[in-house]
């Protein structure tokens, strides 16, 4: 899941300061699940903006709408009519959603209300942590299901650095040393031999080093 957080209200206010009619668009996918941009957050932001504007003596017209998914053109089409009545669109989706809106509604400023953070998982209710860096060449099969790219601060591919201590990363006691986790897990699985194997230098081209990435499925294209 893609995770995101709302930008500080101040920054959002700044970005919409020159508009009178603002359409706030939520997304019912990842950002709903991570409580950043679902129907409820749209309501809270609308209310907060409305109050801030009232207070500033510059009331604005706010419209709330939440799409099933902001990164698919068909859903985004739904907005056409609402967009006509707006001076700007404030998107509460991840960066994909913001860009899709911007692509579809070329003549309207589309502003992000969220900072898109990472691909992650819910550690416990209310806590999300990064799990995948989208490197395009998954090694989880040899690293005991723990990603050294997403979870090692240095993205090391062959064991920990010298800063690992007591199972924690040197950057913070809050961060587990990914390689410690990998070792523990491999040991539990009886697969420490995998740890001994040297991994070749990582080819970062599939990770985006070769420019923006695409996936094409010929069987599905129209």
């Amino acid at each position: 899941m893609i995770t995101a957080e709302r930008k500080p209200l101040e920054e959002i206010l700044q970005s919409v300061s020159s508009f009178d009619r603002i359409l706030i668009v939520g997304c019912n996918e990842c950002v709903t699940v991570c409580a950043a941009g679902g129907r409820k957050e749209v309501g809270l932001l609308a209310s907060a903006l409305n109050m801030s504007m009232l207070k500033a003596g510059r009331p604005v017209q706010l419209t709330e709408h939440t799409l099933e998914r902001q990164c698919d053109p068909e859903y985004v089409d739904e907005l056409a009519q609402l967009v006509t009545g707006a001076d700007a669109i404030l998107s509460m989706a991840c960066g994909c959603g913001v860009q899709e809106l911007a692509r579809r509604y070329r003549d309207k400023p589309v502003l992000p209300a969220l900072n898109t953070k990472f691909m992650g998982a819910a550690e416990r209710p209310g806590v999300w942590a990064e799990r995948c860096a989208g490197c395009g060449n998954c090694v989880l099969g040899v690293t005991g299901g723990i990603c050294p790219i997403a979870r090692c601060s240095k993205r090391l591919m062959n064991g920990p650095c010298g800063g690992s201590g007591n199972g924690k990363c040197e950057i913070s006691d809050e961060v587990d040393c990914a390689w410690q986790l990998i070792w523990d897990r491999l040991k539990a699985l009886g697969k420490t031999d995998l740890y001994e194997q040297n991994m070749d230098a990582k080819d970062w081209r599939p990770a985006g080093g070769g420019g923006p990435r695409r996936i094409v499925r010929e069987d599905l294209t129209e």
């Binding site: 019912n28 996918e29 709903t32 699940v33 409580a35 679902g38 129907r39 409820k40 957050e41 309501g43 939440t66 819910a122 209710p125």
Partner: protein, 1012 residues
């Protein structure tokens, strides 16, 4: 759902007397499926309570709290209500009494009379309500919402019969009617005929027959009452002027030492009665009115009553003067001159008052003595039906039970308890009747979806309760101007049978599809109005109540303008929300027929036995290793009964009962489930084995603890002990007592203090009991009882008089300067102030006995209240649903309280409450299924993001993500808290009845006026 069939032809129960106690009995019996004939000798039911203006300690209006009960009684099909009816002969025995009932002619056809009042206007001389109580006031309508809603005619006083018959537009007047005499068979009889009120005429010094401004408390009550002769204005009967100084004289006819001055016992309710009247006088007619209560002791020993007394003294400024007054004469300026000798003075004083109220108590008059004779039940010297501590509502005649004042002077909660207890006892003799095909024929429910909104607003005046503070007319006008409101009106007492019918008819006639009541709390009255909507043919969830009484008029009495403005806001909010209301379906669940009784003391065992004997399976849980509780430490009651023997009988019966499973050494650890299907887990025995039981109802009989405060050297000196400690010592070591020459008892030790504000109720009688027991063993002993107010209620007063007669010295102390106790070798030195002598007295006592009373068992009570989620009072006792009218039911349906877990009480009172709890349980389980209402969470799966937030947040693990990838919530399992709805990030969940639209609409309604 079945009840044990004890005979093929189910019998009926006769309930004699339609006062509060009788109504409670009849309702309990009807709800547990028994057929009841409820008779009353007067033309309408309601008894004494219908004459009261408000009741303590809530200062509630009685008409308002009572009329819903009356409507219930009138509606229940199991109840055959016969007014103007008396018992004239009885034969047979338990299970089959042949009773002759004589019904006097009403001369009005009840089926035709609509109580329009035409006959009263045309012939006031012969149209009667029960005559007004004021011996000088014009005949007043006793109770404007009477049941049945009809007048009666006194033919003897009618001069023009023909014209009378003709004046009725409905032809309902029947001059030719004769008395009707029938003989019927009843399985059991409950006597709840109430009592008479003492007539103070014979006490010449009080001038009751001489001075019109001397009135009895009941007459004063009528003067205060909105339905009374003055229309609720405080006026002197003599000249109609407003009194500036009012005095109450306590114990008129009660606690009398000479028979020409009345009776010797205490009437038990008059102190609170007088305090209430004084508070109401100041609250309603001006704080500047001087109110004085002349008393010998203030006896406020009910739950929460002591705080009421202290508030009266400290906040309302009511003056309490301790003395019996000497006489009353007329002063020159038309006032009443009262001569009295205050306790702390040595000369008589004379003070003028504008009005004097005589607090007259209860007596058993000739008609009740006759009733006792007809039934052949034993009575005591004062004519009250005789019962005993272990059989609190059983008379000497098998199958005849008693409740209320006829059993002894008492207050309303005790009457309600006995009413339910008597119902419980009667159900043992009369099996449930065949179920009725339908208890009510409901019209089909109209589908209102798609109809344009038509909101009706009905604002209650509730007498002075709302109308006395809020400008009801302006509220009605305001509501009438709100969006979609097509009708707005004042309905007086909205919950009276008459108004309910009016509202029902109005809804049907006007095609209303949303209703807002401006009335009291939805907590107490919403269900009633929901039923009404259903009867009117629309869905029950289309109504709401704006709480204009409890949360507006009652809390803003001194600023009527602001209160009215708030009333407008509450109505705007209510209408806005009502416009969003949608028809909803109820969810019902079958109910477990097992009962959990927590606490194996006298109350718990009595409740368990009563239930098991009526065929219900009971789990009795006791944390100690043996049954018996605190009563195991008691030996004798004040009346001399052997407590140990009584408890033994209970324990043996409990253990022998097949339907009772006793769990001793068991600690309750968890509680879950839904109403009707509850699960309670406990750890049993030394190994702490975990066991879980399922039950439909729960009785809390967890008791209280003997208090042992570290005061007066208790625990530090051998010769200081509690009254409680005396129980076994007096029985087993009488030789010790022989060595005592001086004994001092100190009352209210650790009670009536800021930490434990309530009176412990039982200590005064314990002190008197132990004083008499000590004197029996050692007649030479000299005993001093140092007290604040001596509170020997009812017949206990006779024992107090006996103790005084035998030389026990009763000396009052002021809590500001309490007695001093110091060690003096093996003995003690006690110093106290004698207010009569005006001097300090010091003496060397061989023994000091402290009346320490009871306190809630803080640890156990807190833990259990937490596990069962039941609220407690500030003192730590369980909080009942309604202090006066529902003293056994706890606020959560299906939970009941018995014994000292509710408040300190005697064994007799505990057993009565246990039997009452059993009755309440029966009424609940007889329904077979439980209605969970409609407040359940609903998921809009098209919005659901399957994020799991609801799954994680639900305290009951109800939601799950179904095969379609959306959250699903089973309405039968949902508890209706709405946490999921509040947490859902996709706003896909709504809690019906409390959905966002309705809540936000309330905010819109509130701020509309300001933003417009």
């Amino acid at each position: 759902m079945t009840h044990p069939e004890t005979s093929k032809t189910p019998g009926k129960v006769l309930v004699v007397g339609g006062g509060m106690g009788g109504i409670r009995t009849a309702l309990d019996l009807a709800e547990s499926g028994r057929d009841v004939v409820l008779i009353d000798r007067s033309a309408s039911i309601g008894g004494l309570m219908t004459q009261l203006d408000r009741t303590f300690p809530t200062n509630n209006c009685d008409l308002c709290t009572l009329s819903p009960h009356l409507s219930e009684a009138g509606r229940a099909l199991h109840i055959d209500l016969r007014t103007l009816t008396e018992v004239t002969a009885v034969s047979g025995g338990a299970g089959s009494f042949q009773v002759t009932l004589t019904t006097a002619p009403r001369h009005i056809d009840l089926d035709r009379c609509t109580a329009c009042g035409d006959c009263l206007r045309a012939h006031p001389e012969c149209v009667t309500f029960t005559p007004g109580l004021d011996h000088r006031a014009p005949t007043c309508m006793r109770y404007p919402r009477s049941i049945p809603q009809a007048y009666s005619i006194d033919l003897a006083r009618c001069s023009d019969l023909e014209d009378l018959v003709a004046c009725c537009p409905l032809g309902a007047i029947r001059p030719q009617e004769d008395p009707v005499v029938v003989q019927e068979t009843f399985g059991a009889v409950v006597l709840s005929p109430g009592a008479d009120v003492y007539d103070p005429t014979p006490i010449a010094t009080l001038g009751y027959s001489l001075f019109p401004d001397v009135v009895t408390s009941l007459e004063y009550e009528r003067i205060l009452s909105a339905s009374g002769p003055t229309g609720g204005k405080l006026q002197r009967p003599s000249d109609g002027s407003a009194p500036k100084k009012v005095a109450w004289l306590q114990c008129v006819g009660s606690r009398a030492r000479r028979s020409e001055h009345g009776h010797s016992y205490c009437s038990s309710a008059c102190c609170m009665f007088a305090i209430k009247e004084a508070i109401v006088t100041k609250e309603r007619f001006g704080a500047q009115i001087e109110t004085t209560i002349f008393n010998m002791d203030i006896r406020t020993s009910g739950k929460g009553y002591e705080a009421y007394y202290q508030r009266a003294k400290d906040e309302s400024g009511i003056r309490f003067v301790r003395c019996r007054t000497q006489n009353l004469t007329a002063s020159a300026d038309g006032a009443l001159a009262l001569r009295y000798l205050p306790e702390d003075q040595d000369a008589f004083l004379t003070e003028n008052f504008d009005m004097v109220v005589l607090s007259t108590g209860f007596v058993v008059g000739p008609r009740l003595r006759e009733l006792a004779d007809i039934f052949g039940v034993d009575t005591n010297d004062h004519g009250f039906a005789r019962t005993d501590s272990f059989h609190p509502v059983s008379t000497s005649r098998d199958g005849v039970f008693v409740a209320g004042l006829f059993e002894g002077p008492k207050d309303i909660p005790e009457t309600m308890v006995q009413g339910s207890a008597a119902a419980c006892m009667a159900t043992g003799l009369v099996p449930a009747a065949a179920p009725r095909p339908s208890d009510e024929d409901l019209p089909p429910e109209r589908d209102v979806t798609g109809e344009p909104l038509r909101v009706g607003v009905f604002v209650c005046e509730c007498g002075e309760n709302i109308g006395g503070v809020l400008d009801v007319q302006s509220l009605v006008d305001h509501a009438g101007r709100l969006t979609d409101v097509v009708l707005s009106e004042n309905v007086g007492y909205g919950c009276s049978a008459e108004s309910m019918e009016h509202i029902r008819a109005t809804i049907a006639r006007e095609g209303l599809n949303r209703v807002l009541i401006g009335g009291c709390s939805p907590r107490t009255h919403l269900a009633r109005f929901q039923d009404l909507l259903r009867r009117a043919g629309i869905n029950r969830y289309l109504v709401d109540i704006a709480n204009l009484r409890d949360q507006d008029a009652w809390v803003h009495r001194t600023s009527p303008e602001l209160a009215t403005a708030k009333g407008r806001d509450l109505l705007s909010m209510g209408v806005a929300a009502a416009r969003q209301a949608r028809p909803l379906a109820d969810h019902t669940l079958p109910m477990s027929q097992q009962v959990l009784v927590v606490g194996g003391g006298v109350a718990g065992m009595s409740a368990a036995l009563a239930l098991a004997e009526r065929g219900l399976r009971v789990h009795l849980v006791e944390r100690e290793a043996r049954l018996g509780g605190e009563a195991l430490k008691l030996r004798r009651t004040l009346e001399g009964e052997d407590v140990r023997a009584g408890v033994k009988v209970l324990v043996e019966a409990t253990e022998a009962q097949d339907l009772i499973q006793v769990h001793t050494s068991a600690i309750i650890v968890d509680h879950s489930g839904l109403p009707g299907k509850l699960k309670t887990g406990m750890q049993v025995g030394p190994q702490l084995f975990y066991r879980q039981i399922e039950h439909g109802a729960t009785v809390l009989a967890t008791g209280a603890m003997a208090n042992r405060p570290s005061l007066y050297l208790l625990g530090q000196h051998e010769a200081v002990s509690t009254q409680h400690d005396m129980e076994s010592l007096l029985e087993e070591e009488p030789t010790q007592v022989l060595g005592w020459s001086k004994v001092v008892m100190i009352q209210c030790v650790g009670s009536r203090t800021p930490e434990n504000p309530d009176c412990s109720r039982i200590c005064c009688q314990s002190a008197v009991k132990n004083a008499l027991r000590i004197l029996r063993i050692n007649p030479q002993a000299r005993i001093w009882v140092l007290y604040r107010d001596l509170r020997t209620l009812g017949m206990q007063e006779n024992a107090y008089a006996q103790a005084r007669q035998q030389g026990v010295m009763f000396v009052r102390y002021d809590p500001g300067s309490p007695p001093q106790v110091e060690a003096d070798g093996e003995a003690l030195r006690v110093v106290f102030h004698d207010p009569i002598l005006g001097d300090d007295i010091g003496l060397r006592a061989d023994r000091v006995l402290l009346s320490t009373g009871m306190v809630p068992d803080e640890e156990a009570a807190e833990e259990l209240a937490r596990i069962f989620r039941l609220p407690r009072t500030q003192e730590g006792y369980l909080l009942e649903d309604h202090r006066k009218l529902r003293p056994v039911d706890l606020p959560t349906m299906g939970y009941y309280v018995a014994g000292t877990a509710a408040s300190p009480k005697s064994i007799k009172e505990s057993i009565a409450q246990a039997q009452a709890a059993a009755s309440r349980v029966q009424t609940l389980l007889a329904r077979g299924a439980i209605n969970l209402g409609a407040a359940v969470a609903r998921v809009d799966s098209s919005r659901c993001a399957a994020c799991l937030v609801c799954v994680r947040a639900c305290p009951y693990d109800v939601p799950f993500i179904n095969a379609d990838g959306a959250s699903q919530i089973d309405p039968a399992l949902c508890h209706g808290c709405g946490v999921c709805a509040a947490e859902c990030p996709a706003k896909a969940i709504s809690l019906q009845q409390f959905d966002d639209e309705q809540i936000l609409a309330k905010l819109e309604g509130l701020f509309e006026r300001r933003t417009a």
